[in-house]
């Protein structure tokens, strides 16, 4: 029974991804026919030569949405289980803000994404910012036992780094400032082929590495003390969790901006819907559900002719889900 309902859920999500993916290629300011898109994807040509660029750009941003949504969602899932709090996520804990600060230092300093060196520089800065915040948070966690209080500390990191970024604006020129502000609204578009290659490789490799955490995550639902007693090396697990979630969230943030809500809402929703308690199942389901939500959000953005910022759409979809989960949590009177 449980297995069947999980398989049905996976089927529905994958079907949804296919439909949205296809619609994202066909629809937009320039509508296209299925036959033409098929033809172009197969390497053929279309009547209008400009169409191949349009399809390529739509294809690229759809791939970015699928990987970015998945990455944020599994990063959120792992953090929620580790902190045993359904409100944890890369955004809430200040990890995205840490990555933003790293990006701000480099971008407001005048470096652009265009060159490979600039690319790597910004990625590295984002990762350093994200992982630094996580280490700081873990250090504070030694003194704070209550995980809600810890979340508040994470939020404060977010405000603090935002303030630091505002200070950085004082020295930045207008072009750099505008570039940073536009980046901050979030978007899955605008990656060129080489950036897409870097992004895709990093996200896929890191997401696969997260499967190393299957047994630790299964055990951590009972808390670190019990996890240690069933053979989990808590210290090394903690390190892996910081690295994987921090780097995943940082890479997405560097390329797509600080995308909110997917990292909290998707794992919450999937943990309610999925029956299996094995993270070997939950991890991939959360990934594809994150892909679906991100793709859906991008579709809405595109249907508005790119006038709605991505973060506006994810907030409108994500915030109600989070509120619903909080209400449900209180009804069941579950203490965390």
């Amino acid at each position: 029974m449980n297995l069947r309902s999980d398989i049905a859920l996976i089927g529905v999500i994958i079907l949804g991804i296919f439909i949205l993916f296809w619609m994202n290629l066909l629809l937009g300011d320039v509508p296209m026919k299925s036959a033409d898109v098929f033809n172009l994807l197969a390497g053929g040509t279309a009547d209008n030569p400009a169409w191949s660029y349009i399809v390529e750009s739509r294809l690229n941003r759809s791939i970015v949405a699928i990987l970015a949504g998945g990455a944020l969602a599994i990063s959120g899932l792992i953090l929620q289980v580790f902190f045993r709090n359904p409100l944890a996520g890369p955004g809430v804990l200040g990890i995205t803000s840490g990555a933003s600060l790293g990006v701000a230092v480099v971008v407001l300093g005048g470096v652009t994404m265009g060159s490979l060196l600039g690319n790597l520089g910004i990625i590295l800065a984002g990762i350093i910012g994200a992982v630094a915040v996580l280490f700081l948070l873990l250090f504070i966690a030694r003194f704070i036992r209550n995980s809600v209080t810890l979340l508040v500390a994470g939020l404060m990191f977010g405000y603090f780094t935002a303030a630091l970024i505002n200070i950085l604006f004082l020295w930045a020129n207008e072009t750099a400032t505008r570039k940073y502000v536009v980046w901050g609204l979030g978007s899955f578009e605008g990656l060129n082929q080489s950036e897409l290659l870097i992004f895709t490789t990093l996200i896929i490799v890191l997401s696969l590495l997260c499967f190393m955490l299957v047994k630790p995550l299964n055990a951590l639902v009972a808390g670190t003390d019990y996890a240690a007693s069933i053979g989990i090396n808590v210290k090394s697990t903690r390190l892996l969790i910081i690295l994987f979630t921090g780097v995943l969230a940082a890479i997405v943030t560097v390329y797509c901006g600080p995308v909110g809500f997917i990292g909290i809402a998707v794992p919450q929703l999937v943990r309610v819907l999925v029956k299996s308690k094995n993270h070997a199942v939950i991890l991939p389901v959360v990934f594809i559900a994150g892909s679906l939500l991100a793709l859906g959000a991008d579709f809405i953005v595109r249907m508005s002719s790119n006038s709605l910022p991505l973060n506006t759409v994810t907030a409108i979809v994500g915030a109600p889900i989070i509120i619903w989960v909080i209400v449900k949590m209180n009804q069941r009177n579950v203490s965390f």
Binding site: Q80, V81, R84, F211, M212, V214, K215, N218, A219, L220, V221, A222, G223, D225, Y226, A228, S229, I230, G231, I232, N233, R271, V272, K277, N278, H279, A280, R332, V334, S335, F336
Partner: protein, 242 residues
């Protein structure tokens, strides 16, 4: 099964207690001592989670240091006084966590795992609430499930850190009955810390007492209570509800 040799346990700058040579075999053993004497620290040390000690702890004849966490999990299981689970796990899901040390990297459940879980559900009579969600169960039911989880782990030693701390009188009796049942049907060493003295002579083969910074083994059930009370400096038994 579990032995201490010239053991001396510290917590930071504080010297907690020492034990010259103690050997525990299978059966039920209580760990008694006043608050702050180091009962929980001793259990943590045996779990390999507290490293601030000198001397030797032997688990099944081998030094504690020679075990990797994954191997120690097949030798020792533990039950804490309070547990909560993050997620909508059923009691059965929680029992299955005890099989984790035996599963592959993807935590695949085998027929043996399921069989073991079913056997323990039957042994401890957990059928009534095992398929309900863990978080809605009473403290007593939760604790029985956590004990079941420890038995499912299939270890030679089960430690319990004040397992009855949050239980009412009826559940405390139930808990002791279950521990006796486990001791009778398996060859395990069950070591539990407690402040409850009345049950000791009936239930335990021996008592570990932490007193004046020393860990001692009391082996004669008729002297359990008098020895403990004397060590606590309470000679007048009449004024106490024992």
């Amino acid at each position: 099964m579990l032995a201490f040799k010239q053991l001396e346990i510290r917590a930071g700058a504080r010297h907690l207690f020492a034990a010259s040579s103690i050997h525990l075999r299978n059966g039920i053993v209580a760990l008694v001592g006043r608050n702050g004497t180091g009962k929980s620290t001793l259990l943590k040390t045996i779990m390999g989670l507290h490293r601030d000690f000198s001397g030797e702890i032997l688990v099944d004849g081998k030094s504690l240091d020679s075990y990797k966490p994954a191997d120690l999990a097949k030798e020792i299981a533990i039950v804490y006084s309070k547990s909560n689970i993050f997620g909508s796990h059923s009691g059965r899901d929680v029992l299955m966590l005890g099989r984790l040390p035996y599963q592959n990297a993807f935590a695949k459940e085998t027929a043996v795992d399921r069989e073991q879980v079913n056997r323990i559900i039957e042994l401890l009579q957990l059928e009534k609430f095992i398929d309900q969600e863990f978080s809605v169960l009473s403290d007593g039911e939760k604790q029985l499930i956590m004990i079941g989880r420890a038995v499912v782990q299939d270890t030679k030693i089960i430690l319990l850190d004040e397992p009855a701390a949050f239980l009412d009188l009826v559940n405390r009796h139930q808990l002791m009955r279950v521990l006796q049942e486990i001791a009778k049907s398996t060859e395990k060493l069950i070591l539990f810390s407690t402040h409850q003295m009345d049950v000791l002579p009936k239930v335990c083969q021996s008592v570990l007492l932490i007193d004046q910074n020393e860990l001692r083994l009391i082996e004669d059930p008729t002297t359990f209570i008098t020895t403990i009370y004397k060590s606590f400096g309470m000679d007048n038994l009449e004024t106490d509800e024992v």
